[in-house]
Amino acid sequence: MSGADAQTNTEASNDARLRYLLRLGDTSLVLGQRLGEWVGHSPALEEDLGLANLALDLVGQARLLLTYAAEIEGKGRDEDALAFFRDAPQFTNLTLAEQPNGDFAQTMVRQFLIDAWQLEIYEGLASSTDTRLAAIATKALKETRYHFRFSSSWLVRLGDGTEESHRRAQNAIDGVWRFTDELFAADEVDEQMAAAGVAPRLTDLQPRWSARIDEVLREATLRRPANVSYQWHGKRGVHTEHLGHMLTEMQHLQRTYPGAQW
């Protein structure tokens, strides 16, 4: 391989690494932002504290991941520049993460599906060849184990609770199942990261995620919806209408007073 080729490869892999980190960071940020909307309005005071804890963990993950991404990008941006000065098409979170809170069942289903996904991702990343990413993942994995405990417990309570809660939980899962295809649909970024030993291979993770989901759904007496083949591309910046509204609210101050320090 000539020197010029090696140079191109490093750049290509740095670009893929940047895009990979943004996807992880954006997913945590967008989900954390959604959970923040609940604080003060939860079904029970205890759940206010619980949801706030999840939100804090997710915003914390987003900060670590976006800070790292900004450094790799090397354009002098930081976590806040990435969070507050990119528009929806530049956000590359999973489409599932941006779905509105809806009722508590919808929030818990969204949380449960992503928690189970993050469990697999972070577990894989904990042994990444990228040591900084491995350290972030190791920390995030501990948090995610609790998130999964929280969301799966709630899913079981709702599914196997009252008639009303069962109906709401089933509706919730029926409503967002169409976004789960994206969780394991690998593209060239995922392929490159897996080949470089940076990230786990998505196709390896899918069966474990699926088994985990089935186990909880069974306990919750909920039905797993049939797969829908529409491919969502939040990871490539193609979103649902909801993200734009969320960003409008989230970015309001930074956009209104550009250049100000807060």
Binding site: R149, F150, S153, R157
Partner: protein
Amino acid sequence: MSNDWPLFEVFIRSRAGLEHKHVGSVHATDARMAIEHARDVYTRRQEGVSIWVVRSSDIMASDPAEADSLFEPARDKVYRHPTFYAIPDEVKNL
């Protein structure tokens, strides 16, 4: 009947080697949820390494009205305390 979730008392071991100590209560439907709630309510600042929860209604307490008969009788048994015994200063390791 109350519609609120039942009350659980929360005990926390602040670090290994120390005993669990009562810190307050939470409402929860069962022990598992009570532990989750206790974690979120009482250990936000690393206050604990272990949590016990118990239904408040399962706690039996002594009656303050009986405090005299329960605890006063121990008062005059000073011979249970090491300082009760006069040992010459020259004697070591006692």
